[in-house]
């Protein structure tokens, strides 16, 4: 096993262990744990192991590692007391625009945005409901003095209470239904695009692009069928549906570290990147050593030089004042390509 894999495994083990401990802690040593959810719990533990392992491996790649360390340094800079206020506001604004609203997808296309937004919020709501339940962190107890009321226990500590037969109650207990509707609507929109768009048709891959949609669809539909079964059909086929639903969910959980779903965890990097660029803009700029125009932050260019060396690239130009090809702007790189070929032809004509 390579060193980085070993490290990643250790990380994954530690994080999984912490989660396991949190589960025992939150459920009062499995006192409040719902035994019916055991398969989900284990799938979650496995998923966390996988995600952490992949995340750790990912962070180990030179460019990611560079952003990771730079990101934290930049973060410390942002915490400077003079700017911390404005940076916090900026951070919140980006968080809302990017993560809550998905503004960048909005600009790519309205229908695309609607599909993603529905799927995303559907999943967020569903995860927010199920994970605490699966881990035994949340428990609903009827009040001792009033059976019409439920009190929510978090980590065993009583918090708010609400009447069972109320709007709040209805909305809470059907939270997964609402999230299913959102996901199904979003998945159908996404599928429609994937089936009709010529560009998507050429580029999409089953495992990468279609399977995640099918999985989400399957989870939502089987989940809804469960609700339908116990609400209107007196539990007809409930056991079978429960197994079916569990299979879809568990498969998805285990699939999280591998496929498209991993972007959920990767995208956290965008915040770091945005601040890295902010800091870069305020700092010294790199001037192209051919045309003299500024084209990036000096920090970015120097970091890239480091990363390229780590990756084994040899873009150094030791005999030239340019020193390293990374000091040449993209426009000049394109121009050089034409010039180089032109020179070859000129020489050939001069000799020929």
């Amino acid at each position: 096993m390579s060193k980085e894999k070993l490290k990643a495994n250790i990380w994954a083990f530690v994080v999984t262990a912490i989660l396991a401990r949190l589960i025992t802690l939150g459920s009062g040593n499995l006192d409040r744990f719902d035994a019916a959810l055991v398969p989900y719990t284990f799938a979650t533990l496995f998923a966390v192991f996988g995600i952490t392992r992949r995340y750790a491996l990912w962070l180990h790649r030179p460019p990611t590692a560079m952003y990771w360390t730079r990101g934290w340094k930049v973060f410390l800079l942002l915490l400077h007391p003079r700017h911390v206020g404005s940076n916090a506001i900026l951070f919140l604004r980006r968080l809302i625009a990017h993560y809550a609203f998905n503004d960048f997808i909005w600009r790519r296309g309205r229908m695309r945005w609607l599909a993603h937004w529905c799927i995303m919020w559907g999943c967020v709501i569903a995860v927010a409901i199920t994970i605490p339940l699966v881990c035994g962190w949340i428990d609903f107890r009827s009040e001792a003095d009033n059976l019409e009321w439920y009190r929510v226990l978090v980590f065993g500590y009583p918090t708010v209470a609400f009447p069972i037969r109320s709007l709040v109650g209805f909305l809470t207990f059907h939270g997964l239904v609402w999230s299913s509707f959102l996901v199904i609507f979003g998945v159908l929109l996404a599928l429609r695009r994937r089936l009709s768009d010529h560009g998507a048709a050429a580029l999409q891959q089953f495992g990468e692009d279609l399977l995640p949609l099918f999985l989400l669809f399957a989870i939502s539909v089987t989940g809804l069928m469960l609700t339908a079964s116990y609400t209107w059909m007196k539990g007809y086929g409930y056991d079978f549906l429960a197994i079916l639903h569990a299979i879809t969910v568990i498969f998805t959980l285990l699939w999280l570290p591998f496929g498209k779903f991993f972007h959920i965890f990767q995208r956290s990097a965008t915040v770091g990147v945005a601040f890295y660029q902010d800091v870069g803009k305020q700092g010294e700029q790199a001037k192209c050593r051919r045309c003299g125009n500024e084209f990036a932050s000096r920090m970015h260019v120097e970091d890239l030089i480091t990363v390229e060396k780590q990756l084994g690239y040899r873009y150094e130009m030791p005999d030239s004042p340019v020193e390293h090809y990374q000091w040449i702007c993209p426009r000049c790189r394109r121009a050089l390509l034409g010039l180089a070929q032109g020179v070859l032809w000129n020489e050939s004509q001069a000799q020929g």
Binding site: L203, R334, L339, Q341, G352
Partner: protein
């Protein structure tokens, strides 16, 4: 998919006339509709009408993909380096700055890097890429190797490029002269200080034109 094995992309900037048909046609392709991925640069308009079209060269070992922190740039089995995967791209600009050919484009609005993907919707279905179909000068050519060999007896395709000490091998070929110049690769950084156009108008005619004014 199989056709990709037979057809190859060849570029010949010496033929380019800077008409931008490629740029205009590029944005008509379904994988990047509305966005031209090809670049067309004047080398130095003040000195020359020389222009260079730059498509993605589809490197064997793509620097853009390796410097991507998000692992968003993937190569297909047939060697086509694709645009960043939309879910993953974090718009960090590493690929834009690191690509030795200056190919990727950052679409700031979308927070997404997009690049030439050889019109994958067309080439994967056996059609030519838009740019190479419309190019009026043959600067961009897509077709089987025997065809280009027969059409261009003066040229030989070359797919190794030198940048400093780094050699890059690409799927796309550059047409180089077959003549007396024997180069194994195209040394791009070698011409850092060149700008010499071949044709010049070196006439000292103004001194006659303004003779009276100069008192000559």
């Amino acid at each position: 998919m199989f056709l990709l094995d037979q057809n190859e992309f060849f570029i010949d900037p010496a033929r380019c006339i800077g008409c931008q048909a490629c740029v205009q046609a590029c944005s008509e392709c379904d994988t990047h509709k509305g966005h031209a991925m090809i670049h067309l640069e004047y080398v130095d308009r003040g000195q020359s009408t020389q222009t260079v079209p730059v498509v993605c060269m589809h490197c064997e070992s793509p620097t853009c993909a390796e410097v991507c922190p998000a692992d968003a740039i993937k190569k297909t089995e047939d060697g086509v380096v694709q645009s960043a995967r939309k879910p993953r791209c974090v718009a960090c600009n590493n690929c834009v700055l690191a690509c030795p050919f200056g190919v990727p484009k950052m679409i700031t609005d979308f927070e997404l890097m997009m690049k030439c993907d050889l019109c994958y919707d067309r080439t994967s279905a056996g059609k030519k890429p838009m740019c190479a179909t419309v190019c009026p000068s043959g600067a961009l050519f897509y077709g089987p190797r025997p065809e280009i060999d027969q059409l261009r007896p003066r040229s030989k395709p070359m797919n190794q490029f030198q940048f400093g000490r780094q050699t890059i091998t690409t799927k796309v070929h550059m047409m180089a002269p077959t003549g007396p110049v024997k180069a194994q690769y195209l040394d791009v950084t070698e011409v850092m200080n060149e700008n010499g156009p071949r044709q010049r108008i070196a006439l000292d005619i103004l001194s006659n034109l303004y003779a009276s004014e100069d008192g000559v």
